[in-house]
């Protein structure tokens, strides 16, 4: 039997959530095998996600930040059941969906949708916008053709496009408009949870602001929960209620956004916040510049995954991997400094 670590249950002060847990992720792991030779023998594993637990409540936005390769996208894909977890459990709306297949999985998927990073590759260039947005409706509902068209028009207007746009093709739209189409598709089945993986990273600043505002409006209008994944700390802060910080396959800190940005505890979070260039901080910043690169997840360091770059490393950190602990109410951190 695998050990089940209970996920941090938090109700943060500034969350708009109702306190009902919508999604619970328990000790989720994904180890991708590294194969070699003619027989594709497994010679090692990339520990993309190495034991991540969190919850998302109804109407809550959980932000996940981290640098490339930290496993944030793999977490998103596992929650969506696009990638099979190696171990751990995903409980959505009271049901364990970790091993669901076929029709049952499809039924869950209508409550669980995703918005992708690249609005150029996530829309089929050969399909008119109408077919793109209608696809989930045709697959999952019994709607008549006329109802489908009505719903598509309604969705387009919800995301700030025109009903007439349904007959056009993706290449006729700008990046921001395409992202709106992707959002309309995600909304088609009235999902409860939307996973947005770097949904605004490919957009220009002025367009990024439009999409962030749209996502915030939709959340309020349709009582959505989001898992909002990004490498951009300021964007995550803007949209999230709580924020988790990932490093090398591990969640290292998780707390309400106000707490995280004003009182970060993990040295990685502190460094990340100080390294982010910020217009309003011109001329008055003290920076912590981390040395070196993120270690390879195929050969992660023993002990704390961050110890190789940590400015405050202690002997203990090299041997013992720190557990996630609640060091203040609602503030979880995996660091020996805060044991």
């Amino acid at each position: 039997m695998e050990k089940v670590v209970s996920a941090p249950q938090v109700s943060s002060g500034d969350s708009k959530s109702t306190g009902n847990v919508l999604l619970q992720v328990v000790d989720l792991k994904k180890h991708f095998p590294i194969t070699s030779g003619l027989l594709r023998r497994t010679v090692g594993h990339v520990r993309a996600v190495d034991g991540v637990s969190f919850t998302v409540q109804e109407k809550e936005t959980l932000g996940i930040v981290g640098e490339s390769g930290c496993g944030k996208s793999t977490v998103a894909r596992m929650v969506m059941r696009l990638v099979e977890p190696t171990s751990g459990r995903i409980i959505f709306d009271g049901q364990d969906i970790t091993r669901l297949r076929g029709r049952e999985l499809r039924r869950i998927r209508s409550n669980l949708q995703m918005i992708f990073q690249d609005p150029y590759s996530s829309l089929n260039p050969r399909m008119a916008v109408q077919s793109i947005i209608a696809e989930p409706l045709v697959v999952n509902t019994q709607m008549t053709g006329k109802q489908v068209v009505e719903r598509v028009c309604e969705l387009l207007e919800t995301v700030g496009l025109h009903a007439d746009d349904r007959l056009r093709y993706p290449h006729e739209f700008s990046g921001g408009q395409r992202q709106r189409i992707g959002i309309a598709r995600a909304l088609a089945l009235n999902p409860k949870l939307i996973v947005a993986d770097e949904a605004v990273s490919a957009l220009d600043v002025s367009i990024q602001a439009q999409i962030l505002n749209l996502m915030a409006d939709l959340r309020n209008e349709f009582n959505l929960s989001y898992i909002f994944i990004s490498h951009n700390l300021a964007v995550v802060r803007h949209i999230s209620d709580r924020v988790g910080v990932m490093y090398l396959g591990n969640l290292v800190e998780l707390t309400s956004k106000r707490e995280l940005y004003t009182n970060p505890l993990h040295p990685y979070t502190v460094a990340l916040l100080s390294a982010a260039p910020e217009p309003k901080r011109r001329g008055r910043r003290e920076r912590i510049i981390l040395q070196g690169d993120v270690p390879s997840p195929s050969n992660p360091p023993a002990g704390c995954p961050f110890h190789t770059r940590c400015p405050r490393v202690m002997d203990e950190c090299r041997i013992q991997r720190p557990e996630m602990r609640e060091v203040r109410p609602g503030h979880f951190v995996a660091c020996h400094l805060h044991a």
Partner: protein, 320 residues
């Protein structure tokens, strides 16, 4: 002080049959020695085409420098022959790009790529060149430099590749370094390392830098002087402290207000409505008019000039 680079009324167009795309449409830009000038703007504003025009690397045959002067160290780069220009590239002016993996040759070892520049411009032997390459890699903070020279780009991390690019760009001690979105593909912590390194290059070697970016955070970090571009034109040009303290053009203000901040909690972000106008048919008047919150009828009638509103603060807006 004499400017190192002075661009006057540069126009770079893409011409295809009867369609004319005005990518760079009459820009002026001055860079002094040791200065870091940031060109900031969104995709399609012409910032990258400006840098490619300086390097004379505008994609041919459709892209053409239609008019204007690029004065660099007493020469007009626009008038130089291809041969004369290639003596300057990598030697007096060098460039680093956004994606170091595509800018580096994947089948050449790191050392060969750096020595190539030295052998071409400095006429020195291979062994001497290799020694200089290793030295330069150490300067830019590449660990195990003597081993890295015999590795291939794919064996390096993104941050290391960008360091190799910088080593290659700096090895002939250029007067001007053009960096086109050098940290956009890098993670925040690595970006901080690379920006720090570029500043050190300026401080230690006196290299002037043109840094092209869409990120006002990077601008705040690096710039002495800032040029804001919109739809092929300069809309604001001013010292960096002044820009962040008193931005004047509505576009610059909008851009600043659109960025979510690490420090405050606005519920709603300001967003500039609409999108950039089509570079094939710019409006007659102000190009920002359709998105400007302060627009007036006069804005649409004739194009605003870039005027000096305060000493050293140039703005292209009829309302300021």
């Amino acid at each position: 002080m004499e400017p190192l680079l002075a661009i006057e009324d540069l126009r770079t167009y893409f011409i295809n049959k009867d369609v004319q795309v005005r990518a760079v449409d009459g820009i002026d830009l001055t860079v002094y020695p040791r200065q870091i000038v940031c060109i900031v703007g969104e995709s399609g504003c012409g910032k990258s085409m400006t840098s490619l025009s300086i390097m004379r690397l505008v994609p041919k045959p459709r892209g053409q420098i239609v008019s204007g002067k690029i004065k660099f160290a007493g020469k007009d780069l626009v008038q130089l022959t291809e041969q004369q220009m290639s003596d300057i590239r990598g030697n007096e002016i060098s460039m680093i790009f956004q994606e170091p993996m595509t800018a580096l040759n994947p089948v050449l070892r790191v050392g060969e790529q750096i020595t190539e520049v030295l052998i071409r411009h400095r006429k020195i032997g291979k062994r001497e060149a290799m020694k200089r390459a290793v030295e330069m890699l150490r300067v830019v903070g590449v660990p195990r430099a003597d081993e890295i020279v015999s590795e291939y780009p794919h064996q390096l991390s993104g941050g290391m590749r960008q360091r190799v690019m910088i080593a290659m760009a700096m090895v002939c001690d250029p007067k001007l370094l053009i960096a086109d979105e050098p940290t956009t593909a890098l993670d925040v912590t690595v970006q901080a390392q690379v920006l720090e390194l570029m500043k050190r290059m300026r401080d230690d070697f006196g290299t002037a830098i043109i840094l092209i970016t869409h990120d006002l955070g990077v601008v705040a970090e690096m710039a002495d002087h800032v040029v804001v571009m919109y739809a092929g034109q300069v809309v604001e040009s001013v010292g960096a402290d002044e820009l962040f303290a008193h931005p004047l053009h509505p576009y610059t203000k909008g851009l600043m207000a659109s960025i979510p901040s690490l420090d405050d909690e606005a519920e709603k972000l300001y967003s500039i409505p609409g999108t950039v106008p089509d570079a094939r048919e710019f409006p007659v008047g102000c190009r920002f008019a359709d998105r400007c919150p302060l627009v007036q009828t006069s804005c649409r009638e004739r194009p605003p000039e870039l005027r000096e509103i305060r000493p050293g603060h140039l703005v292209r807006c009829g309302l300021v």
